[in-house]
Symmetry: C2
Subunit: 127 residues, 2 copies
DNA sequence: TCGCTAGGGTTACAGGTGTAATCCTATCAT
DNA sequence: ATGATAGGATTACACCTGTAACCCTAGCGA
């Protein structure tokens, strides 16, 4: 609906994560990793890789033996997009509201609060 | 995959939000609201409401004229679930990592940082 | 040389999601 | 009394996602 909502479905995230980590890889290599990690057959991985390439999530480079795939977008970008989308949807775009909610739900421990504060301190010093 | 991943798709969120806000409402009332807000026809809304009821997202009470619908789960619960799911997927479960990332991406302004800090202060005092 | 495997392509298929149309009955308002 | 609505049920249909199987060819190792 939106213009360029990246939106990466679950199974594709697994492959993205792998590629963000391991640079260019061939389908077989990806398939091997996914097989261990998720139990998918080679077929499944191949299908996903093809879809992702079609969608523009992956880029290909013809290699000696086989094509090599790598992510077409940086992880940071994908993560940011998803995060902001959730923030907007659930918290009216306000991170403060989110933290607030998490704490109230007891979903954040005192320790985590301290940690957060430390992060803020560091951030502010740098800025 | 998970056990009871609530997982509420986009279009259904719209209806949930409306119901969380406006308590019990009949399909027609919901449809009216959705029509204004999203342009859906009555048909679409009815379909969604039925699905959601089947899924257990909505509860029904037979009313005089028509059935009245209301959310089967509190907003806080849904929001928390979605939030933690995202946190786990993208940030290894760490809110600190998320804030960190947002700031680095310049996606958080100094003002928002201050606001966050204020929230933390208040939280800690209360705890 | 012969079979196994990697590299690639094509096809399948069920369940979920977005978005509706159609049809029937009871009722309200003119 | 009649036509416009509301309440409700049923059916449709395309696209996306999760998961695969099948098929063919070229090359590698025994």
């Amino acid at each position: 609906m939106k213009k360029n909502e990246i939106s990466i479905p679950n199974s594709e995230w697994a492959i993205m994560e792998f590629l963000w980590e391991k640079a260019p890889m061939t389908v077989t290599q990806i398939a091997k990793a996914m097989e261990e990690q998720t139990g998918w057959t080679k077929s499944t991985t191949k299908t996903l890789v093809k879809r992702m390439t079609a969608k523009g999530l992956l880029r290909v480079k013809e290699g000696e033996k086989a094509r090599e795939y790598y992510p077409a977008i940086p992880r940071s970008e994908a993560v940011l997009a998803e995060t902001e989308s959730l923030l907007a949807r659930l918290y009216n775009g306000s991170l403060g509201l989110m933290v607030n909610t998490l704490v109230e739900q007891k979903s954040l421990s005192r320790r985590e609060l301290e940690e957060l504060r430390a992060i803020l301190d560091k951030m502010e010093r740098v800025k």
